[in-house]
Amino acid sequence: MSQHSIEVTVNGEAVRAEVEARRTLGDFLRIDAGRTGLHLGCEHGVCGACTVMVDGLAVRSCLMLAVQANGRDVVTVEGLAHADGTLHPAQQAMKDEYGLQCGFCTPGIVMTLAALTADGARPTEAALRDALSGHLCRCTGYQGILRAARRLAQGTAA
C-alpha cells in the first residue's frame, strides 16, 4: 500500500501526515488529526454523521480519501464555535430546539446546516430539509432538527 505525504488545513491549523492511499478523510481527521467530533455511522455515504466542510462544501468524509484532501481547507465541528465559546448559529439552533438526544449524528447535521448558511446565505426551509434528508437520526424523529432548520431559514437563530 503506497504511502503519501499530505498537508491539510484543519480548523485553520496545518496538519501534516504520512498516510496510506486507502486512508479515508474521516479516519485521517479522527485518528491523525485528533478531531473526533465527526463520527463514522455507516462508512458507505448514507448516514451523514461524518460530514465536514472541505473548501466550504459539506462533504462525507467517509467517501473521500485523505490524499484527496491534500492542500485543502477542512472544517470540522470543533472549528465552528467562536473562540470565546459562542456557538455557531447552527449549533445554537439545534440546542435551543432540542435537536439532539444521543448526539452521534449531530456533528454531521450541524456541518450541513453551517455549510448551507455560510456567508449569510438564507436557503429556504424546503432546501434545508432536502439537504437534511442525507442525514440519519434514530433518536429524535427529526422534530427538533426540523425546527432548527426552520429557524435558520427564517433567520431567527441566534
Binding site: M94, D96, C102, G103, F104, R138, Q143
Partner: protein, 774 residues
C-alpha cells in the same frame, strides 16, 4: 400543572423545558464515545465471519493471516476454550437456552457468525488479516423461517427440535363456550417483519487490562453497572475488579443491554495479549451480526357481543428468535398485556419461540409491542366486520376511571391510567367530523385519506424483581456549594444528566446549573440497571429525589441550629436560605455546606460532618403510563406511497420532569414505529443470506418521512416518589398500529386488510389491486 415534588418543595425546575446539560459538549465535538478512546499500545480487532447460514467447519488455515506484518494475533474458539465462556443469554444472569460461545466452535449457525478474531496494529490491517483466514466449510440446509423451524432439523446440538420456550394458558372450557355463543367472532393473522435496532453508533469496546482489578472496559452500553456485573460473572472475577466506563453512547434501544459475543471476544483477546484491544463494529457487521428484533406472527380471535363489547380473546403466537437470543423467552409478556386498556373478561394464549439459522434476537424498544399492534389493528378489523365506527368500538370497551384498579385476565392490575381522557383529547385535536367530511370529498376525487387511532397502557419501570428492582443515588454538596449526583441511571440520549439534575435542584433549592450528574462509571456509586423498561425517570428519579431531600433536611437542620430557628421554618430557594418570619436571617446553601466540612463546632451536637447522602429507591413494581395516538395519512392508489399528514400523540406519563425531553422520547419512538410499518425489513433469502446489509437496503426514516408531531399531555401523578411514569418506549409501541389503522382506513374502499408488515408501496399496490378485483 401538578408537578409538586414530595417534601413540600416548590417545583421550579421539574416540569420545565430546562435546556439539556448534555448538548453543549455534543454540539462542539467534545463528546466521548467509545471509538474516541485511544490508549497507548492499543490494538484493533476485526472478525472473520461465516458466509453460510449453517455449515460445519472442516478446517481453518490461519497461517497467512498470522504472517501478515502488523497482525498480532488470530484467535479461534480453541484459543478461548480455557476461559470456559458460556455467555448468559440474559442480562439478569444465567438463564436457559443453548450454549453461547464467543466464537463458532466446529459449526457456524448464521451468516455473520464470528469464526475468528484478528487483532492487529490498526483496523485496516486487522481487516486485511481477516481476509487472509481460510475456512473450509461443509454447507448444510439452513432453518430460516418460523415455518421451517417448526419441523426443520434442530439448529442446536443436544436439542430434539427448534422450540426455545413455549407457554400457554390452561384449557378453559368457559372460553370455548364464549366463542361458541358470541354474536361476533373476528379473526386475523398479523405478521411483523424482523427489524434492526440501528443505533447510529454501532456496538464497540476498548478493553484495557489495566486498573485496580486489571480490567477496565470502555463500552457502548445501557448500564456500566450491569455490564461490569455481566463480565465479572462471565469471567468469574470479583465484581469490583471490572470497571466499566461509558460516557457518551450513541443510542442503544435494547441492543446494548448486555455485552455479547464480539465484545466478550475482544475482552478475551485483550486478556491473552495483555494489551488494550479496541473493537468498533462497522455498519455491515451491525446489520448482519448485531442482535435483531421482532419477526413475529400472531393469530387473534376476538369474541364480541351484539353491542360490540369484548368477551374474550384467543391468541396463537410464534416468534423467530434466531440462533442465540439475548434472552430465551417467547414474549409471554406480550400475551399478558394483550387486553391493554380494554375491559376483556377472558384471555387464552399459546406462545412459542423458535430457534433458526439467523441472527439472534434482542429486546427492542417496547419488546412486547406486538400486543398493541395485534389488539389495535384487530379492533379496527372487528369494527369494520361488525359495522361500528372503530372509535365507538373503543369507547365502549375502554376502562374508565371508575373501572380502576382493573385486573386484566392475565392477573396484571392496571390503575392510574387515563385511556378515555387521552383518546378524547386526541380526537378533539383531529376534529373527526371535519376529517370524515374531507375524507368523503377526497374519495369522490380518487384521493384516499385515512384516520388511524390506537390506545395502549404501558407497564413502565419493571421493578418486579431481579436487577431492575432498585436504583441508587449518592448526592454530595461540596464546600463550594456545588452539587454532585452520582446516580445509577445511564443515558444513551435520554438526557438523564439534565432530568436528574432538575429533580436534585428542586429538592435542594439550588440552581440546576449548580448540579452535575455523573453516571458513566461502574466503580462510582451503587449498582443500578440503567436504561431498559422505561424505568429511569421513575426509579432513578425517585432515588435522586429522596437522597437530595435527606441532604436538604441536613442543610435545614444546620441552618436552624445556627440561627436558633425551627428546621420546619427554614426555606431554601435559589441557593439562599431564609427563616420564615425572621427577615434579618439570610445565609446561603454554600455557607452551610462550607460549615459542614470546615467549622464543625457550628453543627448541632453529634451531627455527622459533611454534606453527603445516599438512598436506594425501590419503586412500585410496575407504573402504568398510557397514551392515545392518531394519524391522518394519504395513500396514493397510483404509487402505493403513504404520506403522513398529521400525527397526534396524547399521553399521560404522570409528572413530566422535562416536557421537551418527554416529547423527544415520544417522537423518537413514533418515528421508529413508522419505520417499522413503512420501510424497515431485515429479510433473509432461502439460503439464510441477509438481503439488507447497508443503509441503502435497510431504510430507516429520513426527515422526509416524518410528520410534525402534535402533543397533548395529561398529568396523572403515579404513586412513585415524584409522581413520575416511564415514557421511553410508548411511542414505539403505539405508532405501528396507529399507522397501520390509518392506512387501512384510507384503503377501506378496497376492502384491504393491512396485516402483513412492512406496508411497502409494492405491498400496498397489491392490496389495492386485490381489492379492485374484488
Amino acid at each position: 400543572m401538578s408537578a409538586s415534588p414530595p417534601g413540600g418543595v416548590a417545583a421550579r425546575f421539574v416540569g420545565q423545558r430546562v435546556p439539556r446539560k448534555e448538548d453543549r459538549r455534543l454540539l462542539v465535538g467534545r463528546g466521548l464515545y467509545v471509538d474516541d478512546v485511544v490508549l497507548a499500545g492499543m490494538l484493533e480487532a476485526a472478525f472473520v465471519r461465516s458466509p453460510h447460514a449453517r455449515a460445519r467447519i472442516k478446517s481453518l488455515d490461519l497461517e497467512a493471516a498470522r504472517a501478515l506484518p502488523g497482525v498480532r494475533a488470530v484467535y479461534t474458539a480453541a484459543d478461548f476454550a480455557h476461559f470456559g465462556l458460556d455467555l448468559f443469554n440474559s442480562f439478569a444472569g444465567r438463564g436457559s437456552g443453548p450454549t453461547v460461545r464467543t466464537l463458532a466452535d466446529g459449526h457456524v449457525r448464521y451468516v455473520g457468525d464470528p469464526v475468528a478474531i484478528v487483532v492487529a496494529d490498526n483496523r485496516y490491517i486487522a481487516e486485511d488479516g481477516a481476509g487472509l483466514v481460510m475456512v473450509d466449510y461443509e454447507a448444510e440446509d439452513p432453518v430460516v423461517t418460523i415455518a421451517q423451524a417448526r419441523d426443520g432439523a434442530p439448529v442446536h446440538d443436544g436439542y430434539t427440535d427448534n422450540v426455545g420456550v413455549a407457554a400457554a394458558t390452561p384449557d378453559d372450557p368457559e372460553i370455548a363456550a364464549i366463542f361458541a355463543s358470541a354474536k361476533h367472532v373476528v379473526t386475523g393473522t398479523i405478521r411483523h417483519q424482523r427489524q434492526a435496532h440501528v443505533s447510529m453508533e454501532t456496538r464497540g469496546i476498548v478493553v484495557a487490562p489495566h486498573g485496580e482489578g486489571e480490567l477496565t472496559l470502555h463500552l457502548s452500553c445501557q448500564s456500566p453497572h450491569m455490564a461490569a456485573r455481566y463480565v465479572s460473572l462471565l469471567f468469574d472475577l470479583p465484581e469490583t475488579s471490572v470497571k466499566v466506563l461509558s460516557k457518551d453512547v450513541g443510542g442503544a434501544f435494547g441492543l446494548k443491554i448486555q455485552p455479547w459475543r464480539e465484545e466478550v471476544a475482544a475482552i478475551a483477546a485483550s486478556l491473552k495479549l495483555r494489551r488494550p484491544v479496541k473493537w468498533i463494529e462497522d455498519r455491515l457487521e451491525n446489520l448482519t451480526s448485531a442482535s435483531q428484533a421482532r419477526e413475529q406472527e400472531i393469530t387473534i380471535k376476538l369474541a364480541l357481543d351484539a353491542e360490540g363489547l369484548l368477551l374474550a380473546a384467543d391468541l396463537d403466537y410464534a416468534c423467530n428468535v434466531g440462533c442465540y437470543p439475548h434472552s430465551n423467552d417467547c414474549n409471554t409478556f406480550a400475551m399478558m398485556l394483550f387486553t391493554g386498556a380494554y375491559r376483556v373478561p377472558k384471555l387464552a394464549y399459546r406462545a412459542v419461540s423458535y430457534y433458526s439459522n439467523t441472527v439472534g434476537q434482542a429486546a427492542y424498544r417496547g419488546p412486547w409491542a406486538m400486543e398493541s399492534l395485534a389488539r389495535e389493528t384487530m379492533m379496527d378489523v372487528a369494527a369494520r366486520q361488525i359495522g361500528i365506527d372503530p372509535l365507538v368500538l373503543r369507547e365502549r370497551n375502554l376502562m374508565t376511571a371508575a373501572d380502576q384498579p382493573y385486573a386484566m385476565p392475565s392477573g396484571m392490575v392496571v390503575h392510574g391510567v387515563t385511556p378515555c381522557e387521552t383518546l378524547e383529547l386526541a380526537l378533539a385535536k383531529v376534529d373527526v367530523p371535519a376529517f370524515r367530511a374531507e375524507q368523503a370529498r377526497g374519495r369522490a376525487e380518487g384521493r384516499y385519506l385515512g384516520l388511524g387511532v390506537a390506545v395502549y397502557v404501558e407497564p413502565t419501570t419493571m421493578a418486579m424483581g431481579g436487577p431492575f428492582s432498585t436504583d441508587s443515588a449518592h448526592v454530595r454538596l461540596d464546600p463550594s456549594g456545588k452539587v454532585s449526583v452520582v446516580v445509577s441511571t445511564h443515558s444513551q440520549g435520554h438526557g438523564t444528566q439534565t432530568t436528574m439534575a432538575q429533580i436534585a435542584a428542586d429538592q435542594l433549592g439550588v440552581d440546576v446549573a449548580d448540579v452535575t450528574v455523573l453516571e458513566d462509571d461502574s466503580s462510582r456509586g451503587g449498582f443500578g440497571p440503567g436504561a431498559g423498561g422505561s424505568r429511569q425517570a421513575v426509579s432513578g428519579g425517585g432515588a435522586v429525589s429522596h437522597a437530595s431531600r435527606i441532604l436538604a433536611d441536613k442543610v435545614k437542620a444546620i441552618a436552624a441550629h445556627m440561627h436558633n430557628a425551627n428546621p420546619a421554618d427554614i426555606r431554601i430557594e435559589g441557593g439562599q436560605i431564609s427563616v420564615a418570619g425572621v427577615a434579618e436571617v439570610s445565609t446561603t446553601v454554600q455557607a452551610i455546606a462550607e460549615a459542614a466540612y470546615f467549622t464543625l463546632d457550628r453543627l448541632p451536637p453529634g451531627m455527622e460532618p459533611g454534606m453527603e447522602a445516599q438512598y436506594r429507591y425501590r419503586p412500585p413494581p410496575i407504573v402504568f403510563s398510557n397514551a392515545a395516538h392518531a394519524c391522518v395519512c394519504e395513500v396514493s392508489a397510483e404509487t402505493g406511497v403513504v404520506k403522513i399528514l398529521r400525527w397526534i400523540a396524547s399521553e399521560d406519563c404522570g409528572v413530566m420532569i422535562n416536557p421537551a425531553i418527554v416529547e423527544g422520547q415520544i417522537a423518537g419512538g413514533v418515528v421508529q414505529g413508522i419505520g417499522g410499518v413503512l420501510l424497515e425489513e431485515i429479510a433473509y433469502d432461502a439460503y439464510g443470506n441477509p438481503t439488507a446489509v447497508t443503509f441503502k437496503d435497510y431504510m430507516i426514516p429520513t426527515i422526509h418521512d416524518v410528520p410534525e408531531i402534535e402533543y397533548c399531555h395529561i398529568i396523572t401523578p403515579s404513586d412513585s416518589e415524584g409522581g413520575f411514569k416511564g415514557v421511553g418506549e410508548g411511542g414505539a409501541i403505539i405508532a405501528p398500529p396507529t399507522m397501520v389503522n390509518a392506512i387501512a382506513d384510507a384503503l377501506a374502499p378496497f376492502g384491504a386488510r393491512c396485516l402483513d408488515l412492512p406496508l411497502t408501496p409494492t405491498k400496498i399496490l397489491e392490496l389495492i389491486e386485490a381489492g379492485e378485483k374484488g
